[in-house]
């Protein structure tokens, strides 16, 4: 996914949680025979899938006030499910029966997912996801 973000080179904190998931993630890497980007390698040599999600003010009561959170998942739907696991209630604010709620916009690397594959859009390691309420211009 090629985005337009000028500051796409985000530095991810190597977290303890990521190390704990290391073995599982290692299997994924080997099975997909992916070229490992050095930026994604922990000191143990283990790759982990992680994306940065920017949360709008209105949803921050659900993230303990956090503006940027990390989540994992290979599609946007999986990322939302992962967020729901960590921050119960957020899924329902983003989705309804038909998919993304009408007044919720989600961008992966600055591109609106409604013009990609919606909730099935693939998410790559270190992608940046932004959630925003729909607003007027003009």
């Amino acid at each position: 996914m090629t985005g337009l973000s000028s500051d796409s080179c985000k530095v991810l904190a190597g977290t303890l949680a990521a190390r704990e998931r290391g073995i599982f993630v290692l299997i994924v890497v080997v099975s997909q025979l992916k070229v490992v980007n050095p930026r994604n390698v922990e000191s143990t040599g283990v790759k982990f899938m992680s994306v940065e999600v920017r949360v709008p003010t209105i949803l921050r009561p659900l993230t303990g006030g956090a503006k940027v959170v990390t989540a994992k998942g290979e599609t946007l739907a999986a990322v939302v499910a992962d967020l729901e696991g960590t921050y119960p209630g957020i899924g329902e604010r983003l989705l309804d029966d038909s998919g993304l709620r009408r007044f919720v916009n989600v961008y992966i690397n600055d591109e609106d997912v409604r013009f990609l594959a919606g909730l099935q859009t693939k998410v790559a390691d270190q992608d940046s996801i932004t959630i925003l309420p729909a607003v007027a211009g003009g």
């Binding site: 090629t2 337009l4 209105i58 604010r93 007044f103 591109e111 609106d112 409604r114 309420p133 003009g138």
Partner: protein, 315 residues
Amino acid sequence: MRFNSLLDSVGQTPLIGLPTLSPSADVRLWAKLEDRNPTGSIKDRAILSMVNQAERDGNLQPGATLLEPTSGNTGIALAMIAKLRGYQLVCVMPENTSPERTSLLTMWGARIIYSSAVGGSNEAVRVAKVVAAENPDWVMLYQYGNPANAQAHYDTTGPELLADLPTLTHFVAGLGTTGTLMGVGRYLREHRPEVKIVAAEPRYGELVYGLRNLDEGFVPEIYDESLLSSRFSVGGRDAIRRTRELMDLEGIFAGFSTGAILHAALGIAEKAKRAGDRADIAFIVCDGGWKYLSTGAYGGSLDDAESALEGQLWA
């Protein structure tokens, strides 16, 4: 070029090649200079169309009072036309807009009701609807839901683009009311269905997204997602950077919304170049930079400029 009146001169704007910013001879960028309209923005087209339609429909009597939510350009265009046609104008404008916009509106005789910065244009729309309900004899043309807004671009902007650039492959414009993209998009879908219609949406500071709940979100009634090929969100920093590049490399002095549009256009150009595709990418220069000089964002460091626009409705 001779016209019988100022309003007859709306539209027919130049399409300018950008030899320095275009990545190659096969991938070319073209700027449509909408700042050449009478009040200096693309909004003259939409507003003239909306006023003419309301007059044809018998919804505007001499001396009528118009009411409109606007972040600036729509109000300025409407103020000028209202003055020439003998109407009063009340604008509802967010308080976090540059002072030049207030000066221009006042100069053309509009009255301004300021809406809170929190919530941006959503709040202006909400307040305008309350004021409209309290003043049932006022006429709200309502740019977000008025088909004559998009129709202006179907009738004029779209045909002008295709006449000047028959090899057009991409059209890029800003997404506010969505009028430009809907009108040009529909015209191009009918005449050149292979042309990509790309939206660049300004991403403002947090203040503007400070809604009380998600149900207060807003999608303009005239918006039809199926007319777009893709939609990009562009932050203030990239918009400022590109606005400055447009001036430094091509000599065009534009407002920041144009920088956001150029950012998306350049992204498409790079992609086409990498893929080895031919591309003629036309984008909209919405207005000149004059109304935004007081923000201070044209000079100094990018960091300072970005902070200057934080919390402002810069597009």
